[in-house]
Symmetry: C2
């Protein structure tokens, strides 16, 4: 795992669900380092990474250096016209992700995009229309749940009834800014979408997932730039409260204030309160101690338990996604859920910006 959240790329175990060559994929749009995590997950699930493409030769060099099995395409069209390619994984500039997906789906491919999957309600309409028109998938890499072992395990615990009925999910998503390492588009709101849309989308997805809700009302949202005047379009802080359609509460805070002395890029937490107990995830580190990632704490009617889950849970999302593409099922994540998280993230951003006059 990189110390930089932008390049968070967990390595799991080989758990192929298909034979070599049976499910070919391509990486198109390499602007965000999440593409490495996405391709790690898919190739561990048995996908064959056949092509890579980005208009920037340096990004392409870096990618094929890490994934040498990928052929350097000469154009996006070369990838899209290959009938062997079943799925296109993309992590281009956030504002371009929807257009890339629509092109990929129109070329007959399923699409797997980095989060945020889109930055506006108009793009959401376009994406939904493309899904309806093509029958293809617009899947999303909400990595802070699907590519985090505590997050996967928390879902399993809730399903088993370990904490009763979930009444609140509260997520903290701090990130290290590393401003000088970031590309220009990262600081342009039209490109990155705003903090609630961008890293907020991880959290909205978790609120929906852990509460089991299908939708939510946004009770309150706020964005701010507290201390980065050199980057006026950067939201360095965001928060939002939700009342889920099943009555549970949801709250999250995201920020770019991880200090340099922290062992990792962010002390991400998710605290899930149930009627019969609660769960705390310390996803990437255990604050104050160098114990590595993947700490989950469960308290219920019997006891408190500290689970160190590193290497013990795996990432079932990727194998499920590969099989979903083959079988046209929705076991990894429903399209409705992926779009709803995006919708609420964009709406929270609009509400937060309006609140703050940003």
């Amino acid at each position: 795992m990189s110390a930089d959240g932008m390049n968070y790329a967990p390595i799991g175990k080989q758990a192929p669900v298909v034979a070599p060559g049976e499910f070919a994929i391509a990486a198109v749009g390499l602007d965000h380092g999440h593409i490495f995590g996405m391709c790690n997950g898919l190739t561990e699930a048995g996908a064959s990474l056949k092509w890579a493409w980005d208009p920037d030769p340096q990004k392409l060099d870096r990618f094929v250096n890490i994934f040498p099995q990928a052929k350097r395409a000469r154009s996006e069209e070369e990838v899209f016209s290959d009938p062997e390619v079943k799925l296109v994984a993309g992590a281009c500039v956030t504002s371009e992700r929807c257009a890339l997906g629509v092109r990929a789906m129109d070329a007959g491919k399923d699409y797997f995009t980095d989060k945020a999957p889109l930055v506006s309600l108009k793009q959401l309409e376009d994406a939904k229309a493309a899904v309806a028109r093509t029958g293809k998938k617009y899947a999303v890499y909400y990595s802070e749940r699907i590519h985090v072992e505590t997050a996967v395990f928390a879902g399993q615990l809730i399903d088993e009834g370990a904490i009763g009925k979930v009444v609140q999910v509260l997520c903290l998503g701090p990130h290290r800014l590393n401003a000088k390492s970031r590309p220009d588009w990262f600081f342009k709101k039209a490109n990155y979408g705003g903090i609630l849309c961008d890293i907020g989308s991880h959290n909205v997805e978790q609120l929906l997932y852990y509460t089991g809700a299908k939708d939510a009302q946004i009770s309150f949202a706020r964005t701010a730039n507290f201390s980065h005047p050199d980057y006026p379009e950067l939201d360095d802080f965001g928060e939002a409260s939700f009342i889920m359609d099943n009555g549970a509460s949801g709250y999250f805070r995201v920020d770019w204030f991880t200090p340099d002395g922290l062992q990792n890029w962010g002390d991400g937490r998710a605290i899930i309160l149930g009627t019969e107990g609660f769960i705390e995830q310390r996803k990437y580190m255990n604050l104050g101690h160098h114990h590595g990632p993947s700490h989950l704490f469960l308290a219920n009617g019997k006891q408190e338990t500290h689970f160190n889950l590193a290497g013990k849970v795996g990432y079932p999302f990727f194998g499920q996604l590969v099989l979903d593409c083959i079988n046209r099922t929705e076991n990894a994540m429903t399209q409705e859920h992926a779009f709803k998280a995006a919708e609420l993230s964009v709406k929270a951003q609009l509400q937060g910006d309006a609140q703050s006059g940003r």
Copy 2:
């Protein structure tokens, strides 16, 4: 410390600021176990506990058993008419605290009440009028900050600039219900005031204190009874968001869902995000580990530090309060601050109840 939050009564060190007999106090109104913590703090600061009074002889028995130096009064009037008594400490039923305070102040005593100090805006007016009329103090035992060593130390760190400018304070105040051990009034909203007014007031006070704000807007508030149909007037969940008058954000959640397997009555946290670092307080326990109370984690530009503060910080509030009463200063806490926390707690309760239709 008791395992029951209702009887949370930390024992500190003897740190007298006055000579024996120099500052006499009385305990009047013994309904809530917080009276023990209040009297611990004051007597450690050198106050002489001269009288105790409650109309319930059993409560009086229990109290003088623990504080044998206190004489059993025969009436409230006996206490109030003693000119030696400088301060009346009270923890009666929440809805009666304002009236007790007004009587005490009109009798020429300073007043130190358990939180919540009052349950309505009308009571706030009455309390403010009594302060103006008598020149006496209406001090409040916001124990989750003033009687918690991590909370005191966090304030010191912020004052030293350890985390830069505070941009958000987020508090979690879970409590164990122990419904069968609670008196009837505890479940009557007119008496306890609602969860945001009651245990919420601890948290509002912390938001004001750690952000250094004088006032705040309530952005969102919610109360709920998720799973206690036998106690319909109990709010088992509450949350509220604030924008402080200096721009910082504040959020807290309170609840009565501490599960029986937890080592303590509640895993209270306060997470303070600054522009140059952050602080996490694990006030009463370190989840998953039996390390006792008083854990504070500081992350800043240099490092992460885990402080175990048990017995190391003390509770300066009490000595300051005694001296404030003698010198008519406001070093422990200003009257304005104590009332503002109460005001915002009551307003959050009203807003939360309206939101929820409760």
